[in-house]
Subunit: 145 residues, 2 copies
Amino acid sequence: MELSCKSEYALLALLELVGTYQSGEPLQIRQIAAQQHIPDRYLEQLLATLRRGGFVRSQRGAKGGYTLARDPWQISLLDVINCIEGLDAQTADPKQASQTVEGTIIHEVWQEAQSAVDSVFQRYTLQDLATQRDARRQRNLMYYI
Amino acid sequence: MELSCKSEYALLALLELVGTYQSGEPLQIRQIAAQQHIPDRYLEQLLATLRRGGFVRSQRGAKGGYTLARDPWQISLLDVINCIEGLDAQTADPKQASQTVEGTIIHEVWQEAQSAVDSVFQRYTLQDLATQRDARRQRNLMYYI
DNA sequence: GCATACCCCAGTGGAGAACCGGGATATACT
DNA sequence: AGTATATCCCGGTTCTCCACTGGGGTATGC
């Protein structure tokens, strides 16, 4: 299956922004890119898409950067993926409604699978992942004591 | 998500073969292609893949064609899709195991989604779809009476 | 031995993914 | 005002894969 680099990069970047959400301080592309090993020029495009989707706010100029536009527990992974992977993917789906009986049946099974992934991605929010990350960081630290 | 044309075509072809499974008579590419509106030269390649995967048997020469190699209730959609979509897709997956904590977390969620689709595709066999098809054909006929 | 149908290999066109680059614009700080 | 900073927006490039086409080889039934 997919979940192309794009979505992964976008989620990584958003998780980084969750960390600075409390302070309100903007994070810059360079910092996010360095932290998560993402090519910065590419990340720029993804953040532009996320901005148009209303997930992040941007501030231009010196001391600028990006901040989360919504609360991290109100952003599901599905929201992000749909935004980044192109919403037209499901909008332009109807095509010619499978000319044969077999075609419609297969299409129905496929939609069932689609719903299955959607429900997985909808059940996690950015906050969930961030919390999980913090827990793991804590655990990792304990090994050094 | 995907489920590219390839898988759909393969499933359509296999469903067609389920219909002639009892009689043991081979079906030819041309017939399947015409019945399901699939470009025949393309279908040929898919059937070759299915043959290498052990799903169909082929008979060459005049009066040749394809027959199902296994019982239709012993072939799940997942089997077919894995065969056609390339098994290397999951074999070559390990890549560099996401250098950051966030990366591994996202990867885990993604695997959960992957399992969700797999379980959907595994719960249906070719026989299931064929039975459903026959039931619908029956219903459609009743409208004409 | 000839038509039939599979077999194999090779190529094409288009779409999208993953990038890179340059110049314009807005902002903070001095 | 001026300059450094950072986003914004317009491209282009390379690569891979999908969907599909084509040619010649090989086995089989009549």
